[in-house]
Symmetry: C2
Subunit: 162 residues, 2 copies
DNA sequence: CTATATGCAAAACGTTTGCATCCCT
DNA sequence: AGGGATGCAAACGTTTTGCATATAG
């Protein structure tokens, strides 16, 4: 979904809920759906800085409130990955993916595996559950260039338990 | 592992590290390994209150520090489940399990599924990863008595994204 | 015009840390 | 005796909230 499409969808959702379309909401949505963030799982702080650079007057709280709003509208999903900050990613309805986090460089990969999801559903059923959603994060070491070099030298900066 | 066994193991680990056995560490470990907590995934706050009820003088920071210590000694594992509080569970070496959280009553079940873990490893390998650890939480609805009744009546108190 | 949204600052939250004191070893 | 451990309170980083003001519908 492009930024423009996202803004349109947001406006439709706002109208449905009787809420207002504002310049801030449009701007934050546009920044969030910017191609540079598509794989980036930005934190609110990151988004705030990006937004601020385009409109100095936007406040912190507005970014927090707008991201919550995007979640409610189904346009974003919050994720708790490797640190204690909430990260957001654009949501494409019907699609689901999980995460692979590199313990050395912190890089985040995405994957989707229907076989695993089927087994999750079966396991849940064994306990009398119906799965509504799930979170799965695998922690390991990636083979990207900066990371391989770093792996030998410095200690892991990522705490998987955090 | 019983509380007594845990304390013994802790003392061995402390000695190995040149650290000190104290009444507080023993008490916190004993409380944490109390049968009432075995399935409970207590937060630091819960543990603190339990500990405090047995020894009024124990401080908050000591519970935090001791839980971190237990993690280092391999006696506890921190978990981020459905809220923003770190929960701890007793660790039995070599064993791993994942969690199933009821969206209605917040009850936490545990499960283990080697088939899923094998698929996770394969998926990671596909991306050039070796999995060091993983977190998997399934959110759904359980069939316990209070929960089934509640499901129809009140909204879900658990936020899976938190 | 009115309800909603905003920006700011202050509060809240879970957690960590500095420091004087205490107490295992 | 001495280094680690404790309790307290203050600091921390992230997120939420109260409130006066601004603005969309």
């Amino acid at each position: 979904m492009t930024g423009e499409q996202a803004i349109e969808e947001l406006e439709r959702a706002l109208q449905r809920k009787g809420l207002k379309t504002t310049a801030q909401r449009r701007l934050i949505t546009e920044v969030f759906f910017d191609p540079q963030f598509r794989q980036d799982h930005p934190t609110v702080d990151t988004l705030y800085r990006q937004v601020k650079s385009r409109d100095q007057s936007v406040g912190f709280a507005t970014v927090y409130r707008t991201m919550k709003l995007l979640v409610e509208c189904g346009l974003a999903s919050p994720r708790q990955l490797h640190d204690n900050q909430t990260r957001y990613e654009p949501e494409s309805p019907g699609e689901h993916h999980d995460h692979l986090v590199c313990l050395d460089c912190g890089h985040i990969f995405e994957f989707e595996n229907e076989e695993i999801e089927a087994l999750q559903a079966r396991e849940a059923a064994r306990h009398g559950f119906v799965v509504a959603e799930h979170r799965m994060v695998l922690y390991g070491r990636c083979q990207r260039d900066p990371c391989e070099r770093r792996a030998a030298a410095t200690p892991a900066p990522v705490d998987p338990s955090a």
